[in-house]
């Protein structure tokens, strides 16, 4: 009844979230792998591709290709990504370095680790959420760069 009162974005969020979880479940139950975007991407540069390339490369190609195709078929999309290159480079370096140092990111710790009640993943998720909110506040309202 109250369905019309729930913002559409939340419903799309839930639907997309279920797809993300289904993808992680598929990879876990069939291949015995954790769906962690940073961990899988890092295999490109850690010299392990000769062993896992037949899994890593199709995953990354489909992760980039499927949404690109969907967007192209639906008439293209505009991106909301900032054009501030100082932010892009600083943010990218921190995300890449931090994700490997913490052994996981939003997908690895947030989705795969939290759902098995891993203490490390719960701690990591609480900290990156907290620092994310604090950093956003400082950058947006303190320094005014966002």
């Amino acid at each position: 009844m109250a369905f019309g009162l729930i913002p559409t974005d939340w419903i799309w969020g839930l639907a997309g979230g279920l797809m993300i979880g289904a993808a992680a479940a598929l990879l876990l139950l069939f291949n015995g792998r954790i769906l962690g975007a940073s961990g899988i991407l890092a295999r490109l540069t850690d010299g392990s591709l000769t062993r896992n390339g037949s899994e890593t490369l199709p995953f990354l190609a489909a992760l980039i290709g499927a949404p690109a195709l969907a967007v192209a078929l639906s008439g293209g999309a505009t991106t909301q990504v900032t054009g501030n290159y100082a932010l892009l480079i600083t943010g990218g370096l921190l995300v890449g370095f931090g994700a490997l140092m913490a052994n996981g990111c939003t997908s690895g710790h947030g989705v795969c680790g939290m759902s098995r009640f891993s203490l490390r993943s719960i701690v990591s998720t609480v900290i990156y959420l907290g620092f994310g909110m604090a950093a956003y506040f400082v950058a947006a309202y303190g320094i005014g760069v966002l």
Binding site: M19, A23, F30, A70, G98, V123
Partner: protein
């Protein structure tokens, strides 16, 4: 067969990120902007993603071996150390500055243009930087 499953999982993951709105950096930053026009969508995405995985871990606990023969990954040793905390803090800070974490940054490469590609390049550089430091530490310890 594992290659096919990997491709299917990658496609489903990427489309899920697109459908959920997580490839839109302003929606992610809207979630982090708790004192502004807070956007709770990310909680629905994370909750939705955890549901199938709760079930998957229950099935995995009974099987121990995945359908295609590999072992189900064991629970890592639960050490909460400075690396975990420092890395997560750095990750969260970078996430806030742009609104991208690794999955959505890759999923939107098809249309995020030079800014999106620059973020991914910097992210890879950050990863290589960490891997180089790690390798040095290993050789120093050996």
């Amino acid at each position: 067969m594992k290659a096919l499953v990997s491709a299917l999982a990658g496609a489903l993951f990427g489309l899920g990120l697109l459908v959920s709105g997580m490839t839109d950096t302003t929606k992610v930053q809207g979630w982090l902007d708790i004192t502004g026009a807070w956007d709770p969508t990310l909680a629905f995405v994370l909750g939705g993603a955890i549901l199938p995985m709760l079930l998957a871990w229950r099935i995995a606990a009974r099987r121990r071996v995945a359908v295609l023969g590999d072992a189900i990954p064991k629970m890592p040793e639960q050490i909460v150390d400075a690396r975990l905390i420092g890395g997560s803090a750095m990750f969260g800070t970078g996430w806030a500055l742009v609104g991208f974490c690794p999955g959505p940054a890759l999923a939107s490469l098809g249309w995020s243009g030079l800014p999106g590609a620059s973020f991914v390049a910097a992210m890879l550089a950050g990863m290589v930087g960490y891997q180089v430091l790690q390798r040095r530490r290993m050789t120093a310890l050996a």
